[in-house]
């Protein structure tokens, strides 16, 4: 797993700072993923900048969701999935045996494609993470975390009078914001979003996109999206995947106006994908 020397890591981190880019939050080198005999991802090198939104784009089946799930080891839950390469969070190898996957996922939260609130009350949905991680002990502390998380997710005003009603009773957009609040409540550093708006209508989508932009102040965000406009609107950096390979990665402005690779150009302009 640990294929980079510590010196090389230091160097990379230093280089990024020197280029006056955002400091690297997550650093990925030679990440490959196999599902049984099939290889889904080929030697991906990608850096995720702190307090930036990194968008992963590409046609369906290109491996962008698989890559995203490597970042908090959600692929571990799939038996036949094997991940190789080097992924570091703040310079620490997340696949090293000394890392507790539970702690990692608390630091790298995830929001899924389909809103998946637990069949519990809105309050309990948000309090779920803090409860299992013991982040609060008294009722007052929980109340504070729940309110803060819901506020950050832009949902508190809408649900403050019915915190005890089931989370499954909310509308699709509200459910997704509830899931974001649930992820925030654990106090992560990075939030991974797997097509968070694909099940939402345009108004709810706009609401969530606005939210993503606000969240950038406090968190590092990686988002998989099929919508070019969404990638252009919310992200600072964009990475283009195709057939399990990283085609190119760069500042979003550049990617959407003057990409280096012809495939990126074709995909963005809708000629394939």
């Amino acid at each position: 797993m640990n294929i980079m020397s510590e010196a090389a890591v230091e160097e990379t981190l230093a280089n990024r700072v020197a280029e006056e880019q955002a400091p690297v939050k997550m650093l990925c080198r030679n990440v490959s993923v196999h599902y049984g005999a099939d290889q889904a991802l080929y030697d991906v090198d990608l850096d995720v900048g702190e307090h930036q939104v990194t968008a992963l784009i590409g046609p369906s089946g290109c491996g962008k969701s698989t890559f995203l799930r490597c970042l908090n080891r959600m692929n571990d839950t799939i038996d036949i999935c094997k991940v190789s390469g080097d992924i570091r969070l703040d310079g620490e190898d997340i696949y090293s045996p000394s890392i507790d996957v539970v702690e990692l996922r608390a630091n790298v939260g995830m929001v899924f494609q389909k809103p998946n609130p637990f069949p519990k009350s809105i309050y309990e949905n948000v309090a779920y993470g803090p409860r299992i991680h013991g982040l609060a002990s008294s009722k007052a502390e929980f109340d504070e975390i729940v309110e803060k998380s819901l506020t950050r997710a832009g949902l508190f005003e809408e649900v403050k009078d019915r915190l005890q009603s089931p989370g499954t009773g909310l509308s699709g957009g509200q459910q997704q914001r509830l899931c974001i609040a649930r992820a925030i409540a654990v106090g992560p550093q990075v939030i991974l979003m797997d097509e968070p708006c694909s099940a939402l209508d345009p108004i709810a989508t706009a609401r969530v996109e606005e939210l993503i932009d606000e969240l950038r102040q406090k968190y590092t965000i990686v988002i998989v999206t099929h919508s070019m406009q969404q990638a252009a609107r919310v992200s600072q950096r964009t990475a283009m995947f195709h057939l399990g390979k990283l085609v190119e990665e760069g500042a979003t402005d550049k990617m959407f106006t003057n990409p280096d690779d012809q495939r990126t150009q074709d995909y963005i302009t809708g000629r394939f994908g």
Binding site: M74, T77, V102, R105, G109, P117, Y128, G129, I132
Partner: protein, 494 residues
């Protein structure tokens, strides 16, 4: 012509009808089968159904109704002396006439002549042909039997004729109907729908029939024993039914039996629910696909073992084991080696029944847990919960209503179980709260009251129907409640 031949002819006609209908529809479409309303096969089926179904229905009706009509007609010709006999003797006389008729039909012409000339006894002749007639053959019987045979022959002829005519008529009707505009597909599908409805109503009607038959017997029971004594009596002592002796009506208290039933079922559930649930959680959440593919069928083998075998197990293994171990415990604690658990006890029956129920609990719960959407698991794991936290805080709460429904279904099975109880808890109807002593259940007592020589007039046997009906309503209530819970669950989480 025999019934079988008739059926065969009708079916052949149906086959011909299928081919003919198909052929005719193709021919009428004048080379463009697309212009037909339905595919040619449907026209074939339509003709086949019209040819066979009414004919076969008529045949069934005829075969089931005609014997009664013929018997009635023959009976009317019997001498007045016979007709004035009580009802129960009527059936006896008629069955004799039937036997004579059967014998007559087997006699050769030669034997028949010797009987008519009076040279040989009819009964002996019949014995030679292998028909035994009980008692003497009365003088009027041969004549009645002959009439019976004639009537039957006539009935068979009419039957064959009418059935075949109906079949041909149906064939012709359908043949004429076939045409490009005819909606054969819809009509065939209507017939299929009808058959599906009949099939599903048979199960429901049978249930209703069972309940009604039990209700009438139960009613007779309650006419000799007041319901209050039955439902609230605490002593079960039915005594023996002695013919003509009306004094020895025993005590029919339901309470000890019901208590035993619920007690044993409770012990069984206490054993089965935790083990079954843990097994289900392991199978659905932790086991690798390979382990699961081996372990799950193995667990379900338990469900395939006949309950009487569990009974043996309880009788020769678990019961003595519990008795001996209780003696050892007593020896250690009190210094006196005597067992406080009897070999046949509530505990033995409950434990063994619980083992029997494990696969039901685990299999049903496993299905329900597996049905919890994967997105919920991912959501919880993605927040940094461990697998066990996910199971405990998300999966089980989400699956709980379904699991409760499954447990109620299992409970109604425990209440209906008989064989294990007979062998493991005995047949003594006692009212006790000590699980180490024998008790018995409603089902065991039903079996008890209905074995041996029976007369269905005494409360000693009729009580079985009252017990059965009580049990039926208890399990029905449990099942309905389980369905209600499962339905509520569906509304909430989908």
């Amino acid at each position: 012509m025999s019934t079988a031949t008739t059926i065969l002819i009708v079916l052949c006609l149906g086959l011909v009808g299928y081919l003919a209908g198909r052929f005719r529809s193709v021919k009428l479409s004048s080379g463009t089968p697309q212009s037909l309303h339905s595919r040619p096969g449907y026209y074939g089926w339509f003709v086949a159904i019209c040819a066979t179904m009414p004919a076969l229905l008529l045949l069934t009706a005829w075969v089931s109704i005609s014997p009664a009509i013929i018997d009635n007609r023959v009976f009317d010709t019997l001498p007045d002396a016979v007709q004035t006999l009580p009802d129960s003797d009527h059936a006896l006389q008629m069955s004799k006439v039937n036997a004579v008729a059967q014998g007559l039909s087997r006699l050769t012409a030669e034997q028949r002549q010797s009987f008519e000339s009076g040279s040989e006894d009819l009964r002996e002749l019949m014995a030679q042909t292998g028909v035994a007639v009980a008692g003497d053959i009365e003088s009027y019987m041969p004549a009645a039997a002959t009439l019976l045979l004639e009537q039957r022959a006539a009935s068979a002829n009419y039957r064959t004729l009418l059935v075949l005519v109906l079949a041909v008529a149906g064939f012709c009707y359908a043949w004429i109907q076939v045409g490009p505009q005819m909606r054969a597909r819809n009509r065939v599908e209507a017939v299929v729908l009808g058959m599906l409805i009949i099939a599903s109503s048979i199960a429901i009607l049978t249930t209703v029939g069972i309940v009604l038959s039990m209700i009438s017997e139960t009613w007779r029971f309650f006419s000799s024993v007041p319901p209050m004594e039955f439902f609230f009596g605490t002593v079960w002592d039915p005594r023996f039914a002695a013919a003509g002796d009306t004094d020895s009506v025993g005590q029919f208290g339901l309470v000890p039996l019901l208590a035993g039933t619920l007690y044993i079922a409770l012990v069984a559930m206490v054993v089965a629910v935790p083990i079954g649930l843990y097994a289900a959680i392991f199978m659905s959440e932790y086991a690798s696909p390979r382990l699961r593919s081996v372990a799950k069928p193995l667990l379900e083998v338990l469900a395939g073992i006949p309950t009487i075998v569990y009974g043996f197990f309880a009788l020769v293994t678990v019961g003595p084991f519990l008795r001996d171990i209780s003696a050892q415990i007593n020896g250690l604690v009190l210094g006196e080696v005597s067992s406080f658990i009897q070999a046949q006890s509530v505990l033995t029956a409950g434990v063994v029944m619980g083992i029997m129920l494990i696969p039901f609990v685990s299999s049903l719960s496993d299905d329900i847990i597996t049905a919890v959407p994967r997105s919920l698991r991912d959501g919880s794991l993605g927040l940094g919960a461990t697998q066990s936290e996910t199971v405990r805080r998300v999966i089980i709460p989400a699956a709980l209503p379904g699991i409760v429904g499954a447990l109620l279904l299992t409970g109604s099975r425990a209440i209906g179980e008989t064989m294990i109880v007979v062998l493991a808890a005995g047949v003594a109807a006692r009212l006790s709260i000590n699980p180490f002593e024998p008790m018995t259940t409603v089902t065991v007592k039903i079996v008890n009251q209905l074995t041996g020589d029976l007369e269905f007039t005494s409360p000693q046997t009729l009580v079985a129907f009252a017990l059965g009906l009580t049990l039926f309503f208890i399990t029905l209530g449990l099942n309905v409640y389980a369905l209600y819970i499962v339905r509520k669950y569906r509304e909430e989480y989908e």
